[in-house]
Symmetry: C2
């Protein structure tokens, strides 16, 4: 990855094995997919806001999609989402970046809270590995190939 | 359609030929798809809010998806979307219903305004008929088969 190549998907997932599968699947299903993965909420926010380890991203375009786990130690998905959506409107429209929740939670309260916090979509992680891969592929293709983002 | 069968997609589109194609494509791509189409914003709101011609829908579940054109005479897509998102939070979470903008507008202002009004996704209508059908099929399958709605 060069610093000038736009990131397609920022994957935020604390489970190492799931994070690996998601990245691998997205890389093979999105043409020339440029995927960045982080394992917690604070690192995700540092990436998006060009802070901490990611200050060299200042001025770079934001990713086309954030694929966000809900349950994570430290700062959960709701908190990350809330901080993105409460940004001031700016030229790069980072506050409007598409965020898809990708979680194992079937709880209606989590679904409602996600949408209320500003999630664009809520996808439940399938239990079987082939289904998991197929859903990740579908999500990547929908949001990268078909959806028009605000930036 | 019986009154108790849940509506999968409410299509809001003023162009007769496009509305026909969308409904036909959705019906064949969603298994047992139950599609309702209306041709303007006021009728869409009457349907969702069980008013006017749709008072017999009172107590029925809201659709799983609203596929919403932007440019329509009378009440445009932004106005319809704004009225949905400004509803009071209720048990059926109608205020959180997934809304996908489906429009021929490539204008960045329209994209940003759509997300700012609370659109979940923004899809540009392809010019060629086969591409148009393929995109409608993708949108239907993503939101009906994969996405978990709040209600």
């Amino acid at each position: 990855m060069t610093v000038h190549e736009r990131v397609d998907v920022l994957v935020v997932e604390d489970n190492d094995s799931e994070r690996g599968s998601i990245v691998e699947t997205l890389q093979s299903s999105i043409h020339h997919g440029n995927i960045v993965a982080v394992n917690d909420g604070p690192e995700a926010l540092d990436f998006l806001f060009s802070r901490g380890n990611w200050t060299d991203r200042l001025g770079e375009e934001s990713p086309r999609l954030v694929l966000l786990d809900l349950e994570m130690p430290g700062e959960d998905g709701f908190s990350v989402l809330g901080q993105i959506r409460s940004l001031e409107a700016s030229e790069d429209s980072l506050d409007l970046i598409p965020v898809v929740i990708f979680t194992s939670s079937h709880q209606s309260d989590d679904v409602r809270k996600s949408y209320r916090c500003g999630a664009n979509s809520y996808i439940i992680k399938p239990l079987s590995f082939p289904d998991f891969q197929a859903v990740v592929e579908t999500v990547g293709q929908y949001w990268i190939t078909h959806n028009r983002g605000a930036n």
